[in-house]
Amino acid sequence: MAPPIRTDAPTRAKRRFLRPSVIPGFGLAFGYTLTCLGLIVLLPLAALVTRASGLGLSGIWEVATDPRVASALRVSFGVSLLAALTASVFGFLIAWVLTRYRFPGRRIVDAVVDLPFALPTAVAGIALAALYAPNGLVGAQLARIGIEAAYTPVGIYIAMVFIGLPFAVRTVQPLIAEIDKEIEEASATLGAGRVHTLVRVVLPPLIPAVLTGFALAFARGVGEYGSIIFIAGNLPYVSEIAPLLIVIKLSEYDYGGACAIATIMLGISFLTLLAINLIQAWSRRRFGYV
């Protein structure tokens, strides 16, 4: 395929694409990467896009406005928003405690944060269901104060906080660690109290990271399946999530309906990704760092 003698033209064209380097292996590595990416990721995703575009906007809209689908989307996005908010608040607190304070067992607590990354979602799912069931350890206590967790959106919320928490912690933690203590000292010498220093000097530069963590936790919550379905009870119009509806549509061989819901979810997660990128670009422009 490669001609034995290179002519000038392709060389020049190639130079624009790849900066010359003495390091070998670009062709092989790049080619292999593109092939895998194409076959494993892009081709199947293209199949979804093709299928969805076959439905057309009106077709997707029709599925989205079906009362049961609309309800599931509302539950998925609404509860995920609340859960991401909770995860962000407590995630920030945990990240702060882990980076700023020294206490016995800190490393173990730090390791525990990653539990939701490591624990298979189905395992988390049945454990949460057992724990929050009306006769479960926590569920019984909640029932006493009149809160039904299992088989309601409350259960979905708990599962989403569980899986979203590490995203919230791990995005802000390195930034808290990087804060220059001198800026806090500077603020103190200028007469500012500790709370003023935290609110005016420490927090603002962390906001982009907090928002990024929030967006990641939100996106993860919307798409989550395994840890939710056991605790949710999956009652249509009440505690049915969008990913479950895709599974149901598939089992009914309603590929069109499944694709429509999937497309909506993909669209939202891409918007979230875009938002993250914009936050980071803005932060870099404004402060010269991410």
């Binding site: 900066r19 380097s21 390091i23 292996g25 670009f26 790049f30 990467t33 895998c36 990416l37 081709l43 199947p44 995703l45 199949a47 979804l48 607190l93 945990i94 882990l98 304070y101 607590v109 390791a111 525990v112 990653d114 539990l115 939701p116 990354f117 490591a118 624990l119 298979p120 979602t121 189905a122 395992v123 049945i126 454990a127 724990l131 350890l137 906080v161 569980f162 203590k181 806090e184 000292e185 103190a188 500790r194 709370v195 003023h196 609110v199 798409g223 989550e224 399946y225 395994g226 990913p243 895709i246 599974v247 598939l250 590929y255 999937a262 979810m265 993909l266 997660s269 891409f270 979230t272």
Partner: protein, 294 residues
């Protein structure tokens, strides 16, 4: 705003550092953090083991004597044995191309590699059904040639590769970018071949990062549920991985067995966390780029 002055610590014989909170506030915040983590993360983990042993050790062991459980373990291992090395090779290839060279469209390529992380697991399964399913793009052709992908092992492996696709690459790219190309160039000027330079210079520099990412990739590969659930068809003894087996047992109200199998996966998660933490404490600099202090 005007009330944001911290109260003057007159009582303390020796004022605390000015860059931290008062001691009571500090312990209060530590307490809240630990309580939150205990309630939301540790308690579910303990529940797995408590439920697994609820009916005693014999009942626990009984869950593993079933042929279906053995089949599930075998399939899970098989899936990981294929998916992890595949993503390992892909990750090294991709990070070599991306970290050691400058080319047009690099950021787009990185974004595309990251894509599977932002796709719902269920959608990840769905797209393979759309390609290989009976109504899919190549489904009819496969049917004619008697090749089964969906509701069979190949589909499970493919879906697992998809959801773990970015793991190794996204760990190695920043690490290799930080290390730059100077060492490889030095090796080349000393007469090493490209392969030799990779083996003797690049690989030793990234080995801990590589191990770290393989660890996480493996945990996800063995534990994936949503994507695998969609493509598997839940055929007992044939297309059930461990997480799917857990689901079936749970839905059959066989709780002890469900939690017993789950405890196996939870154990895997704990081992993964332990090794991960050890790697982070020991080799922080060699795992992640930018983790270096000043």
């Amino acid at each position: 705003m005007s009330e944001t002055f911290a109260p003057v610590a007159l009582a303390e014989a020796r004022p605390a550092s000015v860059v931290t909170e008062g001691r009571w506030i500090r312990w209060l915040l530590i307490g809240i953090a630990i309580l939150f983590l205990a309630l939301f993360l540790v308690l579910p983990l303990l529940t797995v083991f408590a439920q697994a042993f609820a009916k005693g050790f014999a009942a626990y062991l009984a869950a593993f004597t079933e042929a279906d459980a053995h089949a599930a373990i075998r399939l899970t291992l098989l899936t990981a044995v294929i998916a992890v090395p595949f993503n390992l090779v892909f990750g090294i290839m991709a990070s070599w191309a991306i970290a050691k060279f400058e080319f047009w469209g690099k950021n787009l390529l990185v974004t595309l590699i990251d894509l599977p992380f932002s796709v719902s697991p269920v959608v990840s399964g769905l797209i393979y059904v759309l390609v290989f399913g009976a109504q899919g793009l190549v489904g009819p052709w496969l049917l004619e040639h008697d090749v089964q992908v969906i509701f069979a092992v190949p589909g499970i492996v493919l879906a697992t590769i998809f959801v773990t696709f970015p793991f190794v690459a996204r760990q190695l790219i920043p690490l290799m970018q930080e290390q730059g190309t100077a060492e490889e160039e030095a090796a080349l000027t000393l007469g090493a071949s490209g392969w030799h330079a990779f083996r003797t210079v690049t690989l030793p520099n990234i080995r801990w990062g590589l191990l770290y990412s393989v660890l996480l990739c493996n945990a996800r590969a063995m534990g994936e549920f949503g994507a695998v659930s969609v493509v598997s068809g839940h055929i007992r003894g044939l297309t059930n991985t461990l997480p799917l087996h857990v689901e079936i047992l749970y839905n059959e109200y066989n709780f002890v067995a469900a939690f017993a199998v789950a405890s196996l996966l939870a154990g895997l998660a704990l081992v993964t966390l332990l090794l991960k933490s050890v790697l982070e404490w020991r080799y922080a600099d060699e795992i992640a780029a930018g983790a270096r202090g000043h």
